[in-house]
Amino acid sequence: MKHSFQKILSFVTISAFTLLTLNACKKDKSAEDVQLPPEVKDHNLVLKFKAVIDTVPLEFGKSYQNFFKQSFSVKTFKFYVHGIEMINTDSGKVFRTGADKYFLVDFSDSTTTELKLAVLPYQYNRLGITIGVDSARNVSGAQTGALDPAKGMFWTWNTGYIMAKLEGTSPSSTAPGGVFEYHIGGFKEPDNVLRKPVLLFPFGQSLDLKPGKTSEITVTANIGAWFYNPHDIKFNENPVCTTPGVLAHQIADNYSKMFTVISVVNE
């Protein structure tokens, strides 16, 4: 009798001890803004970006031709993405991933081209993305993470983020050194270059997220699209755009059409 009492006592003590220690060390983690079932832990969707020029994969420094048969090569290609939405146009359901989460997709750094997302398991047939940085983040002081001004996507003398950047050289360019430089930004109307394309999936494919499984969407970002439709951008006429304004607006109109979903793979 006495023996079993001791056992119970020691059990209680040890449990109490463990509980106390665990609770004491628990860190105050800020709550996730999305309501996801517990099996969606870290992520269940990988969104992969691939840079291409029309149909061929981009290689930095290699020569390509734009729509106007002007040759060029690329040195830098990066853009901000956030506000990723998974849409089902049949049921009208939309799932928004953490709206405040920003990604800087930089094709010179392969760790940045695959976005890992946590999405409510369901069937979706469209992908919505926002290219750029919301006006609120342009007016609220020092930011960190993907929005760290040290990433070189920030205008210091006329506050604002560069939403997308494409740089390189072209023999057709009239700028010193034959360079071209497109730093596209502007968050105030009428110069706002925020663009929100909604992308279709390849015919017959849909994103079918099953509990406990991970899917993968691959999206190409076509540099060729920067130069035409609806606006003609030629290296001899407009080799440089580094301020908000009409030209930046036009280039953003063009590049908002640069994305194509080329595959959806469900596990």
């Binding site: 006495k2 001791q6 006592l9 020691s10 003590t13 040890i14 109490a16 001890f17 106390l20 220690t21 004491a24 060390c25 860190k27 105050d28 342009n138 007016v139 609220s140 002081g141 020092a142 930011q143 960190t144 760290d148 001004p149 040290a150 920030f154 210091t156 003398w157 006329n158 506050t159 110069d191 301020t243 908000p244 304004g245």
Partner: protein
């Protein structure tokens, strides 16, 4: 037997409570930075910058002050913020129309005094910067100022023997990021307040104007205060005072930011607090004395499509008016903040 169990239970609980405390020590329970109050001087409006989002602390302020005076933030080590913003000149650049920066280059504009920045919504002569926290990025990276790369600065600060400790003390974590550096600089620059000039003392009933100063104040209220509005001595608007465009600089002012032709050659109305010690004057420092500025208002204003209606027909000022006005402008000098050891170079 029971005694033995009581003792072991006691020991368990003791260990547990020790563990709890040791855990707490590493995050919540340790002594955090000491809060500092930001006091709004009597008669001043509420500041624009809200320290609620960047809690002002003794440790944050101390770190910001060290950064402000540290040449490490510039490429060659020679151009701290303080090289162009000197305390004894109300944090303007003493006796420089334009300032020296990296590689023997000059700035394109006159370095303004730094005080009461927490009340400004926009920064620089053209208002191109929309937030105090991101203002330092402009001088830090401009090739004719400090000419550094933000990543490099962070690397230099991380490698330093003191900075990780100072960041830890200020933000509870030794990690150094550009955001924390900017928040600390803002704690220093944003808490520089100047509100203890003779003018302020008169307003508080602690002193009185001489008769010359009082006459100057009356002229000021009639002819100057619609732009240089009390108590900040600026309404923070952008105006063209009819200063002819300087060939070589070709500075179009506010239009560079807005792209609007109606903003051509408009500049932010500067505060006239501490105006006497912060000579020379004007956005490009072309006026050497306040008398030169007044001569411009009375005789020099050039007409143009964007020249302000208040000055386009010139401001009639007799030599007596200019004398009295000058006497009044002297009462705006706040020597206490220019000597305040809290704002001076740390030892």
């Amino acid at each position: 037997m029971t005694l033995r169990w009581t003792i072991s239970l006691f020991l368990f609980l003791l260990t547990a409570s020790m563990l709890i405390n040791s855990c707490k020590k590493s995050d919540t329970n340790r002594k955090g930075p000491t809060p500092l109050a930001f006091t709004v001087p009597p008669g001043f409006p509420q500041p624009v910058y809200d320290f609620k989002d960047n809690p002002l602390t003794e440790e944050g302020f101390t770190l910001g002050r060290k950064l402000f005076y540290d040449g490490k933030l510039s490429k060659d080590g020679n151009f701290p913020c303080a090289s162009c913003h000197q305390q004894f000149a109300a944090f303007a650049n003493f006796d420089h129309d334009l300032s020296h920066g990296f590689n023997n280059l000059f700035t394109k504009r006159n370095s303004p005094g730094l005080f009461n920045m927490a009340w400004q919504k926009e920064f620089m002569w053209d208002g191109g910067i929309n937030h105090l926290e991101v203002q330092p990025l402009a001088p830090l990276t401009a090739p004719n100022e400090m000419a550094e790369d933000v990543n490099n600065i962070i690397i230099k600060l991380k490698a330093d023997s003191l900075y990780p400790k100072l960041f830890d003390a200020a933000f509870g974590n030794p990690e150094i990021t550009s955001q924390k550096m900017l928040l600390a600089l803002t704690q220093f620059v944003g808490s520089i307040v100047s509100a203890n000039s003779k003018y302020d003392k008169v307003k508080r009933g602690e002193a009185s104007f001489s008769s010359e100063e009082a006459t100057g104040y009356q002229i000021f209220q009639a002819k100057c205060a619609s732009c240089h509005a009390e108590p900040l001595f600026t309404d923070l608007s952008y105006r063209n005072t009819g200063m002819p465009l300087k060939v070589g600089l070709m500075d179009i002012g506010r239009m560079r930011i807005t792209n609007k032709s109606e903003d051509s050659m408009k500049f932010k109305v500067p505060s006239l607090r501490n105006v006497i010690p912060s000579f020379p004057y004007g956005h490009d420092g072309r006026f050497y004395t306040v008398k030169n500025v007044m001569d411009h208002y009375s005789d020099g204003v050039q007409s143009g499509p964007t020249v302000d209606p208040l000055v386009k027909n010139k401001i009639p000022l007799s030599i007596f008016d200019k004398f009295y006005l000058t006497q009044f402008l002297y009462t705006l000098t706040d020597s206490s903040f220019m000597k305040d050891p809290r704002y001076s170079e740390p030892k």
